[in-house]
Symmetry: C2
Subunit: 397 residues, 2 copies
């Protein structure tokens, strides 16, 4: 019998590469022992959250009897949490936000779904630089939206502004960027972003249905070598920022993020009310309330970045030692190196797998010829993987 | 400018009655003081969660350093939580479930969205007895589904089986029931449910795309006077059960529910995998992980039902004293009384509002001529509302 819808059946067939590698990795670990498998497939923060997380839980435990904040909460989030986020974002973005410009979400993934549901008509298009986080296609696809990937420019994977302009149609509703980028580690600079913002403004001056500039930035806190991640809200009245505490506080399981809108957006409250409504009716209802209390108490905290710096250096050494070409990531916790000799990324990842190294082919991010390595892995594991990479590279020498 | 999609713009215009009453109530409370407003509009559990909730949070606080279970979790839920839910549901439903037949969800609302996304094609129909929880329409509407309400039979609001049969079309994909019912308090009995299950089986024997029988039962634990809530899973291979801990453990803010599928469903794993996928891609990713730990530790706990029993008795006294006709609710925490003289429910609710009593018109649940009163309110407040009800009823005497 036909148990599920045709759209979801198609999605399941093409099920994400990351998930496939996860499953293969679990199998390898069973067979060879987890210490002998080099799993660079998942962007899963493995370092503990800041110590304050425990303090907050203890306070909440005592608050239970009053009763604590576990009852229904406004769909847009606890007012003090929205206010604190607005204050944090005002300072970070250089645009003055009040709490009514911010909605607390069920992670960045929840924010993107709520936003797409609020603005997309069936058939509307979302322009997105490739490579891109593959779930974006599913997020807009739930509501009839269509992702339009536009190849970025190696080696840095800079925005291909001419190609983005060329991709614009009457159906374009969103330009979605992700910086620091997963999978490339690229941080878009002020010049590229300013050009994008100015173009969005000029496009919208002739439109009844505006194009939104959405910046998904769960890795904002994680930029290296003094690189700054330019704020997007000042670049256009149509700018929207989406963030998450999953990586910043190493608490991806509790699902807390946010969406913030430029206060100068025309009818800004209509959009915020729509996102609040879709947050409710998509079944999030509200961001998990314990997590809201936790991030509120830790807005100025972050996990120890030195851990990631050390891992990035170790991974760069391993790649250099094997003769693999790569761009040093400016942010996030991924490398996106070239497959040697312009080869097939799916085959190369299979070769890595044969040496117990788990990676994700660039094809899984809409960009073949490259592969992604996550360095959410202990530094000793990274170092021990050096021989495997060298062995895989031997035929190419 | 046109900032949001046309579908969501329509939803916002017809925004839920419950929400409207909530806003009016907040205004009244500002003006008259909250002790002078009788707010029976919201089904918001106001009694504290069981004391164990605090214990669990303290254990989690200590576990943080290991690190605790705040990292990514499988999209279908923590395996020990799924296993414990399967065990609980096996005993409750009288059908043997294993963990692979259960997905932990972001509340019942999240489960319904994940399920509808997994099975509905655009244009597919969901038959639902009226009155009904009004968000059902939005849940299936996100994915192009259409809710087809079928009026239940007063005074008990029994299933109108003949009308349900008559509503079946080639597009029917789901029959969605809610027992104990919000807003009527009706618990469907074994005879009505068995007939429904047998009919679903016979319908599906001639279909390539089966009709699912979905029972949304967040109030299962809350049945009075020894009434039992019959299990739905044994009634059909196509039966699906959705539940929540929001009411049972008074923790609606943390968003934990579940969806469980009859193990005899054809290709059962295809449906479970699809629900797991949509849980991920709709942006839930996983049910909030702290909440998962909490409900795991409290599967056999529940809030003090005597509180609700006392309130139900008090509310029945108030209604009797005012000469308002009602059916005693068999479950949940709502009354759904008749508007006197077959009158206009919207007008009657406005009359109540003029006396500082907040209720929701039956029209808000697709069933005019009645109104809903929630008794999630302290018993003294219920008693003090007696004069207001009497005053409103005076013109009808």
């Amino acid at each position: 019998m036909r148990m599920i819808s045709s759209g979801i059946a198609r999605q399941m067939e093409s099920s994400s590469w990351i998930r496939k590698m996860f499953e293969k990795g679990a199998e390898l670990k069973r067979v060879y022992g987890s210490e002998n498998v080099f799993d660079f497939s998942l962007g899963n923060p493995d370092i503990p959250p800041p110590a304050q997380a425990g303090e907050v839980l203890r306070v909440l435990a005592d608050d239970l009897v009053r009763p604590l904040g576990m009852g229904y909460c406004p769909n847009a989030g606890l007012p003090p949490v929205r206010a604190a986020l607005a204050e944090m974002l005002s300072s970070e973005q250089g645009v003055e936000l009040r709490q009514e410009h911010v909605v607390v979400s069920c992670g960045a993934a929840g924010a993107l779904n709520s936003f797409f549901r609020a603005v997309l008509e069936p058939g509307d298009e979302v322009i997105c630089p490739a490579p891109y986080f593959v779930e974006y296609g599913a997020y807009c696809g739930h509501f009839g939206g269509i992702l339009k990937p536009v190849a970025s420019l190696p080696p840095r994977f800079a925005l291909n502004f001419a190609a983005i302009k060329a991709a614009l149609t009457e159906k374009t509703r969103v330009v979605l960027i992700n910086s620091p980028n997963n999978p490339t580690g690229c941080v878009y600079n002020q010049d590229e972003l300013r050009a994008l913002g100015e173009w969005i403004e000029s496009v919208n001056s002739q439109r009844e249905s505006p194009v939104y500039l959405v910046s998904d930035e769960p890795y904002r806190f994680l930029a290296y070598d003094g690189v700054s991640v330019p704020p997007v809200l000042p670049l256009s009245r149509f700018a929207v920022v989406i963030g998450s505490f999953s990586k910043k506080l190493s608490m991806p399981g509790e699902r807390i993020g946010y969406i913030a809108v430029n206060p100068e957006l025309p009818d800004v409250q209509v959009l915020i009310n729509a996102i609040t409504l879709t947050t409710r009716t998509l079944g999030f209802v509200n961001a998990p309330v314990i997590g809201q209390h936790m991030i509120h108490a830790m807005l100025n905290e972050g996990v120890d970045m030195d851990v990631y710096l050390e891992r990035r250096a170790a991974m760069a050494d391993v790649l250099r030692g094997a003769g693999i070409r790569f761009q040093m990531p400016e942010g996030a916790f991924y490398f996106f190196p070239e497959v040697p000799g312009g080869g097939d990324d799916v085959k190369f990842v299979a070769d890595l797998l044969a040496r117990n190294v788990l990676a994700v082919p660039g094809s899984g991010f809409g960009y073949s010829g490259y592969f992604r390595l996550s360095f959410c892995v202990e530094v000793e594991v990274i170092r021990r993987s050096a021989d495997a990479f060298k062995a895989v590279m031997q035929p190419y020498e």
